[in-house]
Subunit: 332 residues, 2 copies
DNA sequence: ATAAGTTCTGCAAACGGTTACACGTTTTTG
DNA sequence: CAAAAACGTGTAACCGTTTGCAGAACTTAT
């Protein structure tokens, strides 16, 4: 015996239409009838079948989140943030992590139709500068970008204040007397990479310093190994850096490990500042100085912005900038 | 102009039924017709609407995964593993992380009906011994358990060889001459905790040693902080341990950090072995000795077992035990 | 008491597929 | 060469909702 509207209707002695209305537009049905129906609904713990709803309304309350990988606290927290907000609003989240999934096409464009996904939250490094707009053009549903280009027009996005973060970090290091600063960046074509590196260059300019191009290493997005090899390469320079700016904590920790293995004293021989402030940063040994970014909030705000676009026809495009904080621990 | 079956049918000059058959049971339709239809389908990049399919077949190809949190590489990888396998089989995954979501009821039971979720992969610590069976009884769809009780009857499960892992670790420490071994366990009522602690007790018995009950600390599931406080408590004992077995790497790293802060030399004053071998383990400083468990595979196998149950009516209950490995690094 | 509103409810079509059944066509068989 | 079997396709019911439309029942105004 399936518990569907029909059975509710039968029990209440009304038509399915009335049950539907009692649920969706209560003011349209007579109080007495409504009470009766709702009591039965409550009693049977009935909830409408979303598929049928989806078919008939075109609304499925399904949102997709795209992340590079879940094997990184930053995205894990981001996902948790989206999740919790969406669930509270009656939406569900499908997460696509393209590292394991295999990048090609992401298949999402396909699923958007098949699954009738209503909105998309795009995060991470997968969306490179050159293929970026092209990709977005193919998507016909509302999109919110996380940690991506504020330059992109027409799309709401939530991002953290990269520029402020990098600026603070670079200024701090320079004020500490560092002249040779190594940059361990993410992939070259990534938007965040771009933004952050420009911020560093600007600080250097302000201080009338020169950024040694050999001290800039592009690598994988967030891999411990990539951080380690970057550091090794940096230290082989004739004038090795005395401080490192890493574009995320995973890279920073990889670098930190490599530095320790090279026998460097941290922070005396080498100072390191990361980015993100993943939980592990405070617990590394030595504890990593880093830029704190509110990843959970990032997710929540992204989800909120998306739902706004979904439910309010005239929701304006918003660019939301979340503040960051420089947290000084033991690596500086 | 929506691209649905109707439009395909119109273009091919056949009925929707034939299109449906061409897609689902190709052998039933005349090769020539089939070719024609498939060509159009290909051309328009058509894919059937899953909601409509779901409504009429009852199959939605939606699987849910329950994890405590995504803010832990172990579960991140687990999720990635499930994801990649499921996607390759045409399924989609909805992830519920109950830490952020709020534990109560998990709401999943609700969503299972609403969303017509076909199968469930349950992982993690949320399912405690006492409420465990009760919870499972409420679920009417196929379930696969990850890292959970092999004692549970009637349910397929994938788990790692806790017992072998803990046994190896304990034996190793004892053979190294440690007599006072501290245990930093997860929550007391968790099934894995139970299994692992029994394994340790057995090793002690085999060696005719006594496990000091004061050396066993139960804590949160996987929190750095909980690991740190556990260690502090342990070291306050009159006879503090000279080695630590932590039930996961997060706890281990928390403990490690606390130990370093107490000025202990690792591994001379204190040896530590973790569990899971998250990527960070190798990159911690000192690198953490740990039991490697194949979290990605865990996910893939769980997903595979679930699909077997879904598609093969008589799929047998399977208990799959994945082997672990003791990896000795710098903390032993 | 009747006309004109208001409420409230039911009917039925639609959403986009799947599939049992029936029917016309072709092939096989004795 | 007719009867039987096999094949290919269309018709229509169904899955569980939502919602425009129409009509019944009740108010209110005249």
């Amino acid at each position: 015996m399936p518990i569907n509207m029909k059975s509710i209707a039968a029990q209440a002695g009304v038509s399915v239409a009335t049950v539907s209305r009692a649920l969706n537009r209560p003011e349209m049905v007579h109080p007495a009838t409504r009470e009766k129906i709702l009591a039965i609904v409550e009693d049977l713990n009935y909830a409408p079948n979303r598929f049928a709803q989806g078919l008939s309304t075109g609304k499925t309350k399904l949102i997709a989140l795209v992340v590079p990988t879940l094997n990184n606290s930053f995205f894990g927290q981001l996902a948790d943030g989206c999740q919790s907000y969406l669930i509270s609003e009656g939406y569900n989240l499908i997460i696509y992590s393209y590292e394991e999934y295999g990048h090609k096409e992401l298949g999402i464009i396909h699923d958007i139709d098949q699954r009738m996904i209503e909105g998309l939250i795009l995060s991470g490094s997968g969306f490179y500068l050159d293929t970026y707009q092209e990709m977005l053009n193919k998507i016909k549903i509302p999109v919110v970008l996380v940690e991506n280009s504020p330059e992109t027009t027409g799309i709401s996005s939530v991002y953290i204040d990269d520029v402020a973060g990098m600026t603070m970090a670079a200024q701090y290091l320079i004020n500490q007397g560092h002249k040779q600063i190594g940059i361990i960046a993410g992939p070259e074509k990534m938007l965040t990479t771009d933004r952050r590196i420009k911020a560093v260059r600007n600080v250097f300019k302000d201080y009338h310093l020169n950024l040694n191009e050999k001290h800039v290493i592009f690598g994988e997005y967030a891999s411990l190994e990539s951080g380690a090899t970057a550091l090794q390469k940096l230290m082989k320079n004739r004038k090795p850096p005395t401080a490192i700016l890493a574009f995320n904590d995973i890279l920073a920790i990889g670098a930190l490990k490599a530095a320790i293995q090279l026998g460097l004293k941290i922070p005396k021989d080498l100072a390191i500042i990361g980015f993100d402030d993943i939980p592990m940063a405070a617990y590394y040994s030595p504890a990593l100085s880093t830029i704190h970014s509110p990843s959970l909030d990032l997710g929540k705000h992204a989800a909120r912005l998306l739902l706004e676009k979904l439910t309010e026809a005239d929701a304006p495009i918003k660019k939301m900038l979340l503040p960051v904080e420089l947290i000084l621990r033991e690596t500086t």
